[in-house]
Amino acid sequence: MQVRTLLIFFMALARLGLAQEFTLPQKKRANPIPTRQNLTVTGRIMDAQTDESLPFAYIGVLGSKRLTQTNVDGYFTLLNVPSDTVTLTVSYLGYKDQTYRLEPGAAVKQLRIELTSAVAQLDEVNVTGQRTEVMKSGDGIGLIKLTPRNLSKLPNIGERDIFRALQLMPGVSAANESSAGLYVRGGTPDQTLVLYDGFTVYNVEHLYGFFSAFNYNALKDVQPYKGGFDAKYGGRLSAVAELTGKEGSRKRFNAGGDASFLSLNAYVESPIGKKMTFLVAGRRSFQGPLYKKLFDQFQSSNTPALGGRRANRQQTTQQVASYFYDLNARLTFRPTDQDQITLSVYNGKDNLDNSQNVSIAFGRQGNNTGTLVNTDLSNWGNTGSSLKWSRRWSDRLYVNSLVSYSTYFNHRDLSNSVSITRNNNTLNNVRFGTLEDNRLVDLTAKTDIEWKLAENQQVDLGIQVTHNKIDYAYSSNDTVPLLTKNDRGLFTAVYAQDQIRLLANRLLIKPGIRLTQYSVTRKIYAEPRLSATYQLTERLKLKGAWGRYYQFVKQVTREDISQGSRNFWLLSDGGYLPVGAATHYIGGLTYETADYLFDVEAYAKDLTGVTEYTLRFAPQVGRGLVPQETFFTGTGTVRGVDILVQKKFGNYAGWVGYTYAVAQNRIAVFSDQPYYANQDVRNEFKFINTYRYKRFDFGLTWIYASGKPYTSVVGEYSVKLLDGTSKTFTNPSGKNANRFPDYSRLDASVTYNFKHGSLGASVFNCYNRKNVWYKKFTSVSDGQQSQLVVTDVTYLGITPNLTFSYRIH
């Protein structure tokens, strides 16, 4: 019923949208006489408050279709501007739209246009053109834009999380509470390229995936592409999320922070002299009630069951500290107006410890003790750094070079050690269990060139060299290595892309190609790509894309997460770990009015080299694992459609997103028929509302998703062993042949804004829905008869949170 009601609402919104007229603000003025015609206008778009550059902002000529976008450093070049009397329009998500009138005879090079952030405009109500939306979609194929600035309008649990916000878009799955990763259009998180100030980020998760590793206080801009992305990006099959860090204010020192039930978050930013700025932001969890609740939620499955019959048995259990932290620092140096040098550093780590000590006293005086140390430790983290030099060589040529270093480690220790102390002498020490260790180093050098050939043509060229070093070790009982991999690989990629605007700017075509030489397979992989948009009418835009994509580093997800690290990175080898490949086909349309946006995109993705890791078919006894028995490869397909209806402006804003998609894999070892992939989403419905009333922001989000597929147990059986004992095994159903109950969740928030910050209250999962994470089967036997007991392990129930944010300016 709820779904039907929302669909009716959704239809109504769409109709309302069609009734609106698209108008841009027009300033009245006297008719000046142009002194120059057909000129080139260049400049930079800046934040009025901090003087930071604004990347990917739109700048156009009022009354014409001439439009361009600033680059990552905020520079723009508008060629063939008709005269020096026109008015420029500038828009950027989260900021007030701005018009800029050219003065006859005045300079048109190196303009500085300042935009005022919508957040800074506290007391203004109903400002025309004020961009109150959190997200913008429909500009390009598969492209959405999201502003970290407006994140406080959405409900949050502990941290304002940019990835959790991205999950509210149609096409990005929102029903994975245990993963902050981006499951984009039937893809897995490792198929999404995450770039932070140019370096690749290999781990995006904190606290078992409940939060993403990105601090919104350090972020300026996020550009996600859901598919059909440009030739500039490579090495991933599904999507791209490009994150740009804040440079720090060029105007004055500023500091601020947030405190919630989960963590403390603080930042400082300041100019150093006239040419440098810096920003440092850090956050750390503390063991408050919310942290503990989340920690327990994700740990409940591993707690060992210890029961005792003897009266003199004592048990003590200790929990050791767990935490996560991350730190972002960015130093920006502008030696000239044309150059910018940026050093960006990120470091983050999770230390999750669920170890327990159990002491058992025995003997008549209790002078003998046995100690069981159950180690259950997960450590993971990233360090990433990039040094970038951007130079604007001329109005038409912009070159951006960077070197970067990124590491990721994941260490998992799930083991028990037993020691027995008898009359103060320790007699025995045994350690058993499994250890997993994954380490990755990425060294990259790349150069991107933007070359504006003509008003209607821009060529993008680039070269990238990446060296990857990935080690993985899975061992048991400290000493026995089960699976060891030490992978090294070098990728050399070049790309070229042309952007051509034809038919009076109505048609934009982007043909491109990316060539990658991979040292391990010694092959060259060609990735041709083509995308196009066509402005059919003022409001209606058609779009389409096709492209080939390859992936060389893959994160292999274990079928069994209770026994070890949930995923690890490996390099493909062309053998049992083949290079992943995907072909995207995307088609869609956007209908936009002044207040509403209607966007629909249909997509198909065909994948090869899909790898699953399972210990199901490995004998695993007395010897190491053979990769051929643990890695299985097949193909995959994704078919889907994303629909979005958005109200963009006004006190009430928000969107309705709907995705229908089918993701299937075909891996012979599991089934000869295609089966639904773990991340398969059938129906996903999102309803996001924000409302501003005076100084209050209200947020309400509702998410509904079909249950995820899972492999169940259909029966069990016993085998009598040679030593006379019997062992019981469970028999799985067809691979992913069952579905969990549907997922749904309502989150609500209210935020009071004041000059120096805000105070927000959020409630997560308002109606305390018990969403099933997985099912646990326990076999209970009385020797003769056996019974399976099933337990639902659920995601987080109703959880409130308070966030207080403060900044000096």
Binding site: E559, F617, R623, Y774, Q787
Partner: protein
């Protein structure tokens, strides 16, 4: 006739893959209806196969369920020189008087629910050079409550077993007390039920090595013991793999049984004798 583990693994993997290819809906038995096969083909002993249903499981019912024997089917076992028909003797058992030969391959097949179920195995070679470094072991009798617990630790004399295993095959040791009325090593006057919980038979984990150690403490009874060394196929060793159950980790041990579950595996054994005496 040395068994090649890799060959076995590749062939069992191929089996799994072929299983995948063959399980089109017209030939595959639904996962919940597949029969459970239990057969150990021990060199020198007659062939015996046990067939049962699975213990069914439904999330909707909590009723206790049981495996049922499957009788009255026509089972055949083919080896290099002959095809044997097995006789259904009730209680799920099927037997023949023909004995198993070392080094032979055996193929089981039968029809169940109108679909073909098959399995195959190779009977490995008899263990070579199986030796123990002692044939007699001395243990003091321990009475719980008399303060003699220390003796449990201090007199643990291990028995070292060795055999020849140049190609890292799987071996497995089972120790069995042979006395008709065995005398326990540990006596607890307060707990007379203790005796019934003690085991006359114990094992050492399957190994790919060429030796095993039996701790003196492992023996629960005095008297004569048979120490049996089995030469195994990897599918049997896999049964000892850790087995946990949630929807994030569901597995069955690998088997050669197609369209069914359980084990159909060849074994060859050698036996030594060892006596535990009172100190």
């Amino acid at each position: 006739m040395i068994m090649n583990v890799n060959k076995f693994l590749i062939s069992s993997l191929l089996c799994v893959l072929t299983l995948g290819c063959q399980t089109a809906s017209d030939t595959a038995i639904a996962p919940d209806s597949r029969p459970v096969v239990e057969a150990y083909l021990v060199a020198g002993q007659p062939i015996s196969v046990k067939l049962t249903t699975q213990i069914p499981f439904s999330e909707d019912t909590t009723a206790t369920q049981q495996a049922k024997p499957i009788d009255g089917l026509a089972l055949t076992v083919k080896s290099a020189d002959q095809t044997l028909s097995l006789r259904s003797t009730g209680n799920g058992l099927y037997t023949t008087t023909t004995v198993v030969k070392i080094g032979q391959t055996y193929d089981l097949s039968f029809d169940y629910l109108g679909k073909r179920v098959t399995a195959n195995t190779l009977v490995p070679t008899k263990p070579v050079n199986f030796r123990a470094d002692q044939t007699e072991l001395f243990r003091p009798q321990v009475t719980i409550g008399s303060g003699g617990l220390g003796a449990l630790v201090n007199t643990a004399t291990p028995v070292n077993l060795t055999w020849k295993n140049p190609v890292a095959d799987y071996y497995f040791v089972v120790v069995d007390n042979l006395e008709t009325s065995p005398v326990p090593i540990i006596v607890d006057p307060r707990n007379t039920g203790l005796v019934t919980t003690l085991s006359r038979r114990f094992r050492v984990q399957p190994t790919q090595g060429d030796n095993a150690t039996i701790a003196g403490l492992s023996f629960q009874y005095f008297g004569r013991h048979a120490v049996v060394l089995y030469h195994l196929n990897p599918d049997y060793a896999a049964l000892y793999k850790q087995n946990s159950t949630s929807t994030q980790n569901i597995s069955t041990p690998p088997t050669t049984v197609v369209n069914g579950l359980g084990i159909f595996t060849g074994l060859a054994a050698d036996t030594l004798y060892l006596t535990v005496k009172k100190q």
